[in-house]
């Protein structure tokens, strides 16, 4: 078939399409490669260099050594791991409970409660009132605590809606028979519904995990103590507020500027590599997540 309706115009189109795609891949990847090359470059040579970079200039691990000396990189990593792990577990559990409730049948107050939950997707009190609620919460227990980065953002209504539609697809008969055997709601939720909605749960876990990993703004308004900064806020200090002093001590003034450039690139690699390593394996779940969200979003 294909050979019959092939024309010269199509061949030309196919060639241009391929070229365009290769160019697109280059444009997407090159900034990342540049960062990697720069991070391994010799600081002095990199500073003197101008233009594109196709390989590291010389080879030096000094920038990485220096980056790991930054006290906040290590503590930031640990704080972020805590937030991602604990935050994701709590978020998924609470979201699952909400989704379970909303997917039940014959619950009288379900509609008004669903309305109140959905309403928050369209209207919110805004930044400042939320700030005061979190700051003054129970006499200020959240302020300057890592919990301020978990508790106030625990449930994403969007994720809740996605999870509900995942739960709603489970046939009632399974839960019915469990109930006849005397199972309570908690048992049904954790032993039947969650295992059956595994694909949806995986997607929600990833969504929450990535959101906690990327979050920096709340930390910038609720956290004062440097030791409690999550990784992204430390990155902001280093990359956007240009604070590399912590890592350049013992280097003489002339080299300081040079090394602080390569340190920045090393920091980017350190902070991004873990995500990029796991991404190819999780890609299909993320893609699935877009589909599930699209059906209901």
């Amino acid at each position: 078939m294909a050979s019959i309706d092939r024309t010269k115009g199509q061949d030309i189109f196919n060639i241009f399409n391929m070229i365009f795609m290769v160019a697109l891949m280059l444009v997407t990847l090159y900034p990342l490669l540049y960062v990697v090359f720069a991070s391994f470059s010799d600081a002095g040579r990199f500073l003197a260099h101008s233009g594109m970079l196709w390989h590291p200039l010389g080879f030096s691990g000094l920038a990485y050594e220096r980056a790991f000396q930054h006290p906040s990189i290590v503590s930031g990593y640990l704080n972020t791991i805590f937030i991602v792990v604990i935050g994701t577990i709590l978020s998924v559990m609470v979201t699952a409970i909400g989704a379970y409730f909303l997917s039940r049948k014959n619950v009288l107050l379900q509609r008004p409660i669903a309305f109140l939950i959905m309403f928050t997707m369209f209207f919110s009190g805004g930044l400042i009132p939320t700030y005061f609620v979190v700051k003054n919460f129970l006499g200020g227990v959240l302020y300057d605590s890592l919990w301020a980065l978990i508790v106030p953002t625990m449930v994403s209504t969007y994720n809740l809606v996605v999870m509900r539609s995942g739960f709603a697809a489970i046939p009632d008969s399974l839960e019915e028979s469990a109930r006849i055997d005397g199972a309570g709601h908690l048992t049904i939720l954790f032993k039947i519904v969650l295992p059956l909605a595994k694909a949806t749960v995986a997607v929600i876990v990833l969504y929450y995990g990535v959101a906690y990993w990327n979050a920096w703004f709340n930390a910038s308004i609720y956290i004062n103590d440097n030791a409690k900064y999550p990784l992204q806020l430390v990155l902001r200090q280093i990359l956007l507020i240009n604070d590399t002093n912590n890592m350049t001590f013992g280097v003489d003034a002339g080299d300081q500027m040079a090394i602080s450039e390569t340190i920045k690139y090393a920091v980017i690699v350190i902070a991004t590599l873990p995500i990029l390593c796991v991404y190819p394996f999780l890609q299909k779940y993320f893609v699935k997540g877009v589909m599930i969200g699209a059906v209901k979003g």
């Binding site: 309706d5 024309t7 115009g9 199509q10 189109f13 399409n17 391929m18 697109l24 891949m25 997407t28 990342l32 540049y34 101008s50 233009g51 594109m52 609470v94 409730f101 039940r104 619950v107 009288l108 107050l109 959905m118 928050t120 997707m121 369209f122 209207f123 919110s124 009190g125 805004g126 930044l127 400042i128 009132p129 939320t130 005061f132 609620v133 625990m154 309570g184 709601h185 939720l189 920096w216 703004f217 992204q232 990155l235 902001r236 280093i238 990359l239 956007l240 450039e261 920045k264 690139y265 991004t272 995500i275 990029l276 991404y279 890609q283 993320f286 893609v287 877009v290 589909m291 979003g297």
Partner: protein
Amino acid sequence: MATQAVHDAAKSSKLSSAGKILASDLRRNYSLYLLMIPVFLFYFLFMYRPMYGAIIAFKDFNPADGIWGSPFVGLDNFRKFWDSMYRNRVFFNTLKISFSTLIFGFPAPIILALLINELRSKIFTKSVQTITYLPHFISLVVVCGMIKDFTTETGIINDIIKVFGGTPTTMLNNPRYFVPIYVISDIWQGIGWGSIIYLAALSGIDAELYEAARIDGAGRWRQTLSITIPSIIPTIITMLLLRVGQMMNIGYEKIILLYNPLTYESADVISSFVYREGLQNFQYSYSTAVGLLNSLINFVLVFGANILSRKFNDTSLW
């Protein structure tokens, strides 16, 4: 008189029967409601309490006096914003950035999906997808850090500009470059990820349609125009409406990572203005008023977009 009494009796019996239904529902489902307590608490404490707190927009809020104790000032805070020189600037910038991302950023993933759909090699398709999805997983702080480094006077973008005879400048300090930088980086981040939804729509097209068109002698271009594009129009419209609903809702995160006082004139949007006035200049009531105004506009836009979306095809948020 008599009819009134009958009416009242009917009403009260209706009420008491409603009460009975509620009581029996609570008895039957009490464990389910108990289970929901964490969810109720979350929404009450972190969603509805701030909505109550938003009344400081109508007060001269002072944290020491609390929300209730602060003096009521009516619409003064709104008036202050209306009369200020910032009103036009932040509204105009919000619209400008919204429209620019809409015009350039919205069609990009559609075009990419159509082009990917024409690729014949499976491995090639897979690599294009994997690579173009990648930037979606790089954190915003890192993306902005890269933008900042690449656009400095000695950064790689200026190195390239120099080759073509331009003069290098620190681009993030120039208000003229802010919107292009914002939009281009947005496309870089989102083009691949955004194409997923359209690829899904494309893969759902019935292959028999193409078969029939081929028998009728339609070439690939004709097939694209008459089958492919019309088939994904519903998806495009839905996505477009969702986008329009978010029109006035430019987030502050990327803006405040990239802007600085030199570029406020073209970069400062409503949400970043609220952030700065509220949390950096401590104008709590004033910034809450501006935020509330923005929330109301958003509410109307999202609501409208949803109604339209439901009209065009059966997709809506609820």
